[in-house]
Assembly symmetry: C2
Homo-oligomer: 256 residues x 2
């Protein structure tokens, strides 16, 4: 497994930020505050990349961390055999650039054209050494990233495609919703192939499940990149409960 020296990383751990109880009460502690962003401004420079462009490659020397101002990116990993897997999608205000041993851990590519703030590593390191609050914030992000990966594992551990897709849609909804609101409309800037690579499914299957959920009146897809949750109850049942009553393969009307 790539970039993985020796027998190492199998441990659930608690570092300083994990230890403390609920910190800044209520606030979304995994995002930078406007104030913190301001403190980063001096070392940040604006960069723009086009749809499909690669921000940096897995294994390349890590030179900067990026704060996303606009657009959507994806984290891609090549398997030894050449197939790809998508580890995650990143949206505005997310920070990308995880490195290990000074090398980027995965390739990051633009799903849509994007604008980012580039923070060179040496300057950032200096800043973090002086600003422990900011440092804490960055660690918080690492923690949440870990939790996200674990949730991803949970989803992939389930075979059924409709559950995987429903969970993915729910995740996208959570990301797009301001403060945990349940939006009915979901934006999907990524392609069916991207979704498939994230969920361990083929694009064909992704498309078929979309069609199935649509026929069953659970969701509506005006176009491939927009989804509306029509039947919240049944949608939730699929995403969360993994319940037996699942979407029939080809039937149209789901029995009440």
């Amino acid at each position: 497994m790539p970039g993985h020296r020796g027998a190492s990383p199998r441990l659930a751990i608690a570092a300083r930020p994990f230890l403390s109880g609920p910190a800044t009460d209520g606030a979304r502690r995994d995002l930078l505050t406007a104030q913190e962003r301001e403190r980063l401004a001096p070392i940040a420079s604006l960069v723009r990349i086009e749809r499909g462009a690669i921000l940096f490659r897995q294994g390349a020397e890590a030179t900067a961390i990026y704060d996303i101002a606009g657009g959507v990116l994806k984290s891609v990993t090549l398997r030894p055999d050449g197939t790809r897997a998508i580890l995650g999608f990143f949206f505005p205000q997310d920070i990308v650039g995880l490195a290990e041993d000074g090398r980027y851990v995965s390739t990051v590519q633009a799903v849509s054209s994007a604008v980012l703030y580039r923070m060179p590593l040496p300057a950032l390191e200096r800043l973090l050494r002086r600003d422990s609050e900011l440092d804490h914030q960055f660690l918080m992000k690492a923690c949440h990233e870990l939790r996200a990966a674990q949730l991803h594992v949970l989803t992939l551990g389930i075979a059924r495609a409709d559950i995987r897709l429903a969970r993915f849609l729910d995740l996208m909804r959570q990301i797009q919703a301001p403060e945990g609101a349940r939006l009915a409309f979901i934006d999907l800037p990524m392609s069916r192939a991207d979704i498939g690579e994230y969920l361990g499914l083929t694009p064909e299957t992704v498309s078929r499940v979309f069609a199935r959920l649509q026929r069953a009146q659970i969701i509506a897809c005006p176009d491939p990149h927009h989804v509306r949750i029509v039947d919240e109850a049944r949608f939730h049942a699929i995403a969360q409960e993994e319940a037996r009553p699942r979407v029939p393969p080809s039937r149209l009307s789901a029995a009440g």
Copy 2:
């Protein structure tokens, strides 16, 4: 998704420990050194738990971090519908007790009877605040844990059961091997069901794949808890390459 407030954790991030290049050259930086262990000794107390016993439960208030002295544990998560998933296995010298918002993130249970050093959180926090080197070490572990989860995602993204199992065996081998040596014998203290829950497969499938790999002379299983890699080349091909030439479903002799 459990314990997951709002729209938060989607970000690849770099915190202080990630930023710096190769640190202590050569040393396994994700394990505590004897010296560091010594510094932890004053606040640690020895505890012993029996096979099957639960160390702590997901969602419970985090009171301590544990350093494994002997035995094997597993990290289990309950899905909303009651099915379980295993996020990872932990071996001696691993540290368990990841918490978020002061609550344990997953349930940890003993695969075999185990002996651990218990480090109460308040004391540990105090210690880490004074000992930045130790603190650094803990963060390193969080980083590696994240990488491990990503590798897990990569494995689960592949449908084929024999690849998943081969990767799992390879991972177990790496963990048991001292300093990256390629052992031929692998210890599997966990049950077939455990392996299945880790790989997103049923116990029956796990057993069948074991049988298939054995018939193909790729591995040998003197008993269910011990594996010997017989044909390193073909084993590696399955685990790493995801190559087309895979183990035939029922054929005995693999054509040269």
